[in-house]
């Protein structure tokens, strides 16, 4: 394979990676190898702190599992702004709805100036049957911006969670979303076309540079 073709393939991989990597790394911790379940009940508050890395915090996801064949009752979730010491949002979700999907998304109006703020999610059960539902967490300190707490005591673990903000979208998602928006369609389509032409022109450049 000619040298320039290999270089062009590298350029293509760089383009693809740049377009599909979010511009900001949002706080999150996926379920890891050392995952475990934290049982929820009326007397236990399970929390997770995190530092938001972008403005426009608009959702948080948690991962729950049913530990009872018929989970009844409800789950209370509070989102606190620890930096400003205020309750930001309060949710009351039925336990059945909470465990219906592997990941439950709590959506709220975007917080404009969320970047740099420390938040805490508090989760507690209400009228849950014994052994009703549990949250997934992973042992260790894989997420460095915060930690899991049980009844305000820090634990060597992190809940399985993710915070969402528009800044966490990839460039590709933004371009393709804009391409379907009638107001921005022509610009986004022109940008996608120009991107393809840019990559092609780069291949031409690498070829002539290699043979010059």
């Amino acid at each position: 394979m000619p040298y320039w073709v290999r270089a062009w393939l590298v350029a293509g991989v760089v383009f693809a990676a740049a377009l599909t990597t979010p511009s900001v790394s949002l706080p999150a911790d996926a379920a890891g190898f050392r995952r475990f379940q934290v049982e929820l009940d009326q007397t236990t508050t399970v929390s997770q702190t995190f530092v938001m890395t972008a403005d426009g915090l608009a959702a948080v996801t948690l991962s729950a599992a049913a530990t009872h064949p018929d989970p009844t009752g409800s789950v209370q979730v509070d989102l606190f702004d620890v930096s400003d010491r205020k309750l930001v949002h309060k949710f009351d979700v039925s336990a059945r709805e909470f465990v219906e999907q592997p990941v439950y998304r709590l959506t709220f109006p975007p917080i404009d100036d969320s970047a740099g703020q420390t938040y805490r999610i508090d989760v507690r059960g209400s009228n849950l049957p014994a052994g009703g539902i549990a949250l997934w967490a992973t042992k260790g300190s894989r997420y460095s911006g915060g930690t899991m707490l049980i009844n305000d005591r820090e634990r060597w673990a992190d809940l399985t969670f993710a915070a969402y903000a528009p800044a966490g979208q990839t460039a590709w998602t933004r371009l393709t979303a804009a391409a379907t928006d009638p107001r921005r369609r022509s610009g986004a389509q022109a940008a996608l076309g120009a991107l393809a032409a840019y990559l092609a022109a780069l291949g031409f450049l690498l070829r002539v540079v290699a043979s010059a």
């Binding site: 760089v14 740049a18 120009a194 991107l195 032409a197 450049l205 043979s211």
Partner: protein, 438 residues
Amino acid sequence: MIGRPAAEGAVLAALLAVFLCRAALASAIVPPWQGPDEPTHFTLTYGLTVPTAMHQRMEAGVLQSMVRHGWWDLYEDPPPDPLPSSLSLLFGIGPGTLAQPLYYVLGSAFLRVSRPSDVDSAYRHLRYFSIGLAVLAMAFGWAGSRLLFGSEVAAGAAAVAALHPQFLLTAISVNSDALLNVCGGFVWWQAARVMTGRRRAFSIALMVVGAAAAVLTKRLGAVLLVIAVAIAVASFAGHRRWRPAWRDLARTAAVAAVGLVALAAVRTLFAEEFGILVRLWTNALIIRRPLDSTTVPEIFRFLRMTVDYFWLIGGWLRFQPPGWWLWIARVLIVGGMAGAVAALMSSGTDRRSMAIAWLFVAVQVMAMLFAVFWTIPSAPQARYLFPVFAPITVLLYVGLKRAVPATFHRQWPIALVLVLATLDITGFTTVHIPTYLR
């Protein structure tokens, strides 16, 4: 890197194609009015093509366009309600003046040919005009670099220019920077012709004309006049036995005479504008802060910010790339410039050509420091360096190549293109796209 003329042509064609694709990409993503003082420069240019009675309506059209394109949203402010009747009532947009008319006259001539139907299309046409000027600036820059340093360095420097994110932003901005950069490229080319003995007298005359055009475009262009005079003096000093041909002397005298007659005509016909121009220039020389009040840490902070803002900062000093990106750019700039200093000291390189390139850059940087600290306070902006962009790209190329071991010289051009393209595309995906496609 380049051994045959055909190969040189192909490299230049490829660089042009890459630059135009990037310009199309940036134009599709970056909304209008995001460049420095664009609304003012636009209204002055477009205003020359519409009757005076329509000016207020035109300004209202510009303000509505700014609302439509989210100008205030990007400052995280609501648009004023009601909108002001004039752009001059907006905070934060600098004034322009027709007393420095060159860009406005050329831009309006372009609009008279392109015949836009409304404000948005006029803006778009002027953006194309700026892109054309940027291509011209790069062509002049390449011509000068080729004369002084040969085909390889010229092509390498042109590659740095063609893939430079901040130069691209200037290329799609509707303001007089684009024309000033053309003047800078032209002066660099003519300086190279002077120093390599190509019709020296005539080239000196053209160099001075280019610098005069720069002065009539922006006050910053005065630096090019200083450089042109320095090059002319250096040329005379370096060739004591130089005997110019009578034909060259006659042409130089004719150019000088035409220049003086034109100056006298302008002074008589446009007395008011001429007075404004003289005040504008002298205003830039009034020292507003004691010369000894500037501290060394302040100067270092300014230079550090200049390095950080040189490769990319979007939205006129607002949207910065992530930290890892900045570190790569810092290494490129500081490493390239350090290598260029070493090349100047080394006996293996053409020290005279290196000294000419350094003269351009050093005078520009000193003028920037003088203006920012003592006469016109301002934040560091890469565009202030773009009138000498061609010598800067040459120094970066030469300096960076010095750091590459000889065994990798074959791979070096491709590696350079890959690194520059990586910085460029990630500049788009981490700065422009997240900012403007919210």
